[in-house]
Structures are given as C-alpha cells and as structure tokens.
Symmetry: C2
DNA sequence: TTGTACGCGTTATCAT
DNA sequence: ATGATAACGCGTACAA
C-alpha cells in the first residue's frame, strides 16, 4: 500500500504539502504541485478514505433509508440517488426497513454515524424522532415535509388535479378514491386535493395497504357505489382493481375507468395498459442527493450565520400518462347497476 | 461525542482495559468489565467505526454491485443481501452499473477499497478482470461461476427441466425458447439444459435483450414456427410475448402456452397469470452474504494453510409455479397454422 | 490482569 | 508557500 508519505518522499516535499497538492485548491506552488501529482500517478497512490474520514470527520458516504427495495417505487428513487451520487464521486449506504417504523428508527440511528448525511424515503416515524435524527443538516426527507428539514417530494395535489380533470373531460361525474396507508404523508396530500375539486362527486373508499389485494377489495366497493371511475393510491392497487373488475365481468375502460399513481414499469404491461400519474422518481432521488450535499456545505464554512438559508423544500412536477384504462363515461356504465 | 477514553475515565480504568472489556472475549477481570459496561451504557458510548476501521483495516462494510436496481430481479437479491447484512450488523454499499460492463469495472475497482468484500451480481465483465478484481477472498459472485471464486447461483438446468417436464405432461411436443443476452451466464446454462431433453423439439428463437419488447418480437417468431409453447428468458420477456399474442388474437393458454423465469411480483398480476420458474432470489442474496463473511474469516486467522477450503460454489433450488398461462396442447393450436 | 505507548494514514494548526 | 507536529479514536505489543 502506497501512502501519502511515500508520495511526499518521492516528490521531495513534506506530507503536508503533498496533502494540500492532492486535496484541495489551497495555496500550493504550481511547480511543487506538479511534482506531487506526477509522483502520485507514478506510484499509483490512492488516498485512504478511512484515514481521511477519521481525521476530517467526513466519510464521503451518503445513507439511503427506504421502506422496501423490492418496491419499484423506491427502487426508482434509489436508482436516481445512485446515479447522482456516482456522478459526485460519493458512495451510498443503503438500508431497507421492511416497512417497519421501529427498524427505521434503529437503522437511521445506526447509519447516521457512518455517513455524512442520510436521505430518508417516505419515513414512517413520528415527527419528533425525525427532527432529532436528521435535523441540523444531517438529512433530507423524501415524500414527507417537515419544518426545518430539507425535503423533496412530488406535487401530489397537482397529480390528483390532472387525474380528475382528465376524468371530468371524459364525462365522469362520480369518482371513487382507493386511498393508501393512513400513515402516508403523500396520501394525506392527495386526500386534501380530492376535496378541492368541484363538479365531481368523490366516493372515499377509505385507507388501505398499498398492495394489489387492497385493490381487489376496493373494486367491489367501487362497484357498489355510483362511481364510473376509480383512482388508486398507486399502480399496484390499480392493478388489483383491474384484476377484480375483470373477474366480475366489468369491462375496462368501457364500463369503468381506472387511474393509478407512480407509473411503475409494469403499468404499461397490464391489460388494458394503465392510465397513471407518472412521478419523476429518478429525478426525486437525484435532487435529494443535491440537497444533501448542499446541506453539508452549509454546515461546514462560516457561511452567513445571520441569515442561514431556510431548508429547501422542493416539489417536483408530475404528469398524467393516458393509456388504455380510461375512456368516456358511457351510458352502459351508468346502466350497470 | 463520547469516546472510549471517556468511558475508561468514568470506569476508573485505562483505555486499553476498557477496549478489551468491550471488544472481545479477552482476559478482563469480571468486576472491572462490569464497571466498564455500565459506564459505557451510562454515557451512551458507541464505538467509532471509522477509527476502528483505520486501526484494523476492516470497515465492516459489504459492497453490492448489480446491473440495475430498478429490475425486480436484482432488487430482490439486494433485499436478501440487506436483510442478512443487517442481521450480522453490517452495512451495505450498493452500486448500480446501469448494465454497462465499463461502469461495472470502474465501480468495482473503486468500491473494493471501501469495503471488506464485494458481492457481484450477474457480472458482465470478462473472466480475467473478474478474477483480479474479486479474487483471493475479496468477493462473491452471484449468477456466475468461476474457478477460485466463491459463488451462489440458481439451478438453471433444473428450472428448464421442470418447465419442459410440465409442458410435456400437457402434451406439448414442440417448444420455443426466447433466450436472453448472449453474454448472460445464466442463459448459457439454460441453453445447455434445453439441449439435454428428449421427446421434445426445441425451436431456438435466438438471443435478445431481457425486456418486454424482445418478447413481442419473439411471439411473432414463435407463431411462425410449429411450437405450441414458449419458454422465455425471464418474466419481462414472457409478458411481452403475452402482450403480442393478445394483439395477434392468439388465446393463452388455449392456443399457446407461455412460461417465464424469475417469478417477479408482476407475474401474478398479468392476464393470464404467468406460469413461471420461481427463483429463490432473497435466499440467493442471503447466502451471498454468508459466503462473503466466511471468505473474510478464512483470510484472517492462521487457518490450515495446507488445505484451504476450496471456494464454495452453491446452487439453490428453483420451483415451477403453475398459474394460468399454460394448458394442454389443443388440436385448435395445431390447426392454427 | 492491567497500564503505557505507539501507530494506522490523513489533515489541521502553527510556526517559519 | 511550506514544514514540523499534533491529533482524530481505537487496538495491541510490550512491559509491569
């Protein structure tokens, strides 16, 4: 293993100078810097990140905590985080909480000390824990907002608005909402948005787990109402709705329209292809990384302490993708019951 | 930050004794150990992993390199790796290579120095690079085997056998195979297995990218042959086949049977539900971690150097999950052309 | 069994 | 601009 000392010796300077030449844009004589860089390349020197971390207190690692890696929703975010982190030359420590708030707290506590900052996806833990764990520039929230903590989320309200606008233009007048988990921050935002439309009657199918089975149950509830369209919490639930409607002999979209959220890859593969609100998940992940490094930077230097920039709270735009699961509300549909 | 020195002071012992009391089962007086442990708990002491890493040369981190986090196949493996690592109190550094062999090599090189060992999923890089990068107990291969490197994979041949056995029992005599990437180690194993059956004619649809679009093309090829069933490289390809058959007005499974590989979550949600060879991906991830820590352990102590255990090469069992996309080969099917 | 002292590789401080 | 020196927190050889 070739160390900084070796490089310094080869370049005929002190380790301190070698460090400066390699590390930062600090003041180093151009000529000396040249010699150091050449010596380093010559010897194949690579800095020891552990030693640097011990001395500087910053490992360069980012933490990513999410409820379920196998959920394509979080996988997409993770992918965005990965990509951006790689561009920035930083590594990512990933932890899966299995959707368990206790594991979540545990994992964050443990991870926090190994990384410079942690990106927390759809955290289920209560606000007070959240603030103590990732407050003070040590974390970024995704899909959740909290005073004093930077966050990036999607414009849930606009997604709902677009979906309802689309349905209304198709002649629908009564729409059912198959909501998500009661503890979901995103679901709460969407529910608010549902209340804000006029010209449409909304049937609340209640909260539920974000899985296909919940969609199966929701479909029957929707059939029992006068709704001609169902908006689901996410694509998985929407697929459950689709499946049950088929089982019941109800044709989609002729007799019932269905809209999902997320636009996971499978959404385009089901029959009929799912109309859904596409969320820019990769971009969410990328932005989260950017906010995280910005927050780190804001900690370090003696930046204007009087007016510290308030934590950024970003909201990314969403877009309705119209596929085959929505159509005009037909007389046949209304005549169904 | 409370350090070991603080604990030692509080317990009235030297840092060395405190270290011994906390670290290993080394010789420490029972009474002193008690005092140290209590002081540590009292002060909320937590070892600094970075300092420990610098001293010991081992970070406790595991590296996980995979082609695509958004691919449910790899996401499942990652999930298994996560879970097992957590049980063992180890963290996981994940890197996504975007299916690019160049990025893969780059990422592995860079990650290798930050972790104790790296788990390499479905590596696309050539064998010689592989051996230099992860040889000598520094890595574990998943879905690829190589002399001298521990690995864990699934029993591809048996999966093919089960699928063909199932089809033969249903009366099929000619089966098409929509293979995967030419560079895929798994695909090569499956191809071998196809050649080893008798009583069945196999139509090779050639290699292709493991995406739905490839399945669409493969479906047309299959229809142009005398095959009454299609086996696909993975579920995504199988879903593409399903989609195109529907477009062509060919009923599944009545006129054509379809079998996938992997059993991703979406496989049960398509119409008809996909019969597929389920791979124990979570278990694969877990075993990979176990092999990795075993390999580390084999490096450390002065274990029998004469007979070093040959690198483990594990193969996990697979299971055909029969759903709705396979049925008896019918006269109607044969009369189609 | 316990304490002292040193080193892991790097960077920050303080002189010069 | 550069060099000597200390320190980050921990583990361990050596001495007691």
């Amino acid at each position: 293993m070739v160390t900084l000392k070796d490089v310094a010796a080869a370049a005929g300077v002190s380790p301190a100078t070698a460090s400066r030449a390699l590390s930062g844009p600090t003041s180093v004589a151009t000529v000396g810097r040249e010699r150091v860089l050449r010596a380093a390349a010559q010897l194949g020197y690579r800095v020891n990140p552990v030693a640097r971390a011990l001395r500087s207190g910053r490992s360069g690692h980012l933490g990513l905590v999410l409820p379920d890696l196998a959920n394509p929703f979080f996988a997409s975010i993770a992918k965005g985080v990965q990509a951006r982190a790689r561009e920035l030359g930083r590594n990512v420590l990933v932890a899966d909480t299995e959707e368990d708030p206790l594991i979540e707290l545990d994992v964050v506590t443990q991870l926090r000390e190994q990384v410079d900052g942690v990106i927390l996806c759809s955290p289920r833990m209560p606000a007070e824990h959240l603030r103590t764990e990732v407050g003070a520039g040590r974390g970024v929230l995704v899909n959740r907002e909290l005073d004093g903590v930077p966050s990036v989320s999607v414009d849930n309200a606009d997604g709902v608005r677009q979906a309802l606008e689309h349905l209304r233009a198709l002649g629908h007048r009564t729409v059912a909402y198959a909501g998500g988990p009661a503890s979901s921050w995103s679901d709460a935002r969407r529910r608010d948005a549902f209340g804000a439309v006029d010209g449409l009657t909304v049937v609340d199918l209640g909260p539920g787990r974000p899985v296909a089975a919940r969609g199966v149950a929701a479909a029957d509830l929707a059939l029992g109402s006068s709704a001609t369209a169902v908006v689901a919490y996410n694509d998985l639930v929407a697929m459950g709705v689709l499946e049950q409607l088929r089982t019941r002999g109800v044709r989609v979209p002729e007799q019932m329209s269905v809209i999902g959220f997320d636009d996971v890859p499978a959404a385009a593969l089901v029959n009929p292809p799912l109309t859904t609100v596409a969320l820019p998940l990769r971009a969410v992940g990328r932005r989260a990384v950017d906010l995280m490094v910005a927050a780190e930077a804001a900690i370090q230097p003696g930046a204007a302490p009087a007016g510290p920039t308030p934590p950024a709270r970003e909201q990314l735009g969403v877009e309705l993708v119209v596929r085959g699961s929505t159509a005009h509300a037909s007389p046949a549909a209304r005549g169904r019951e």
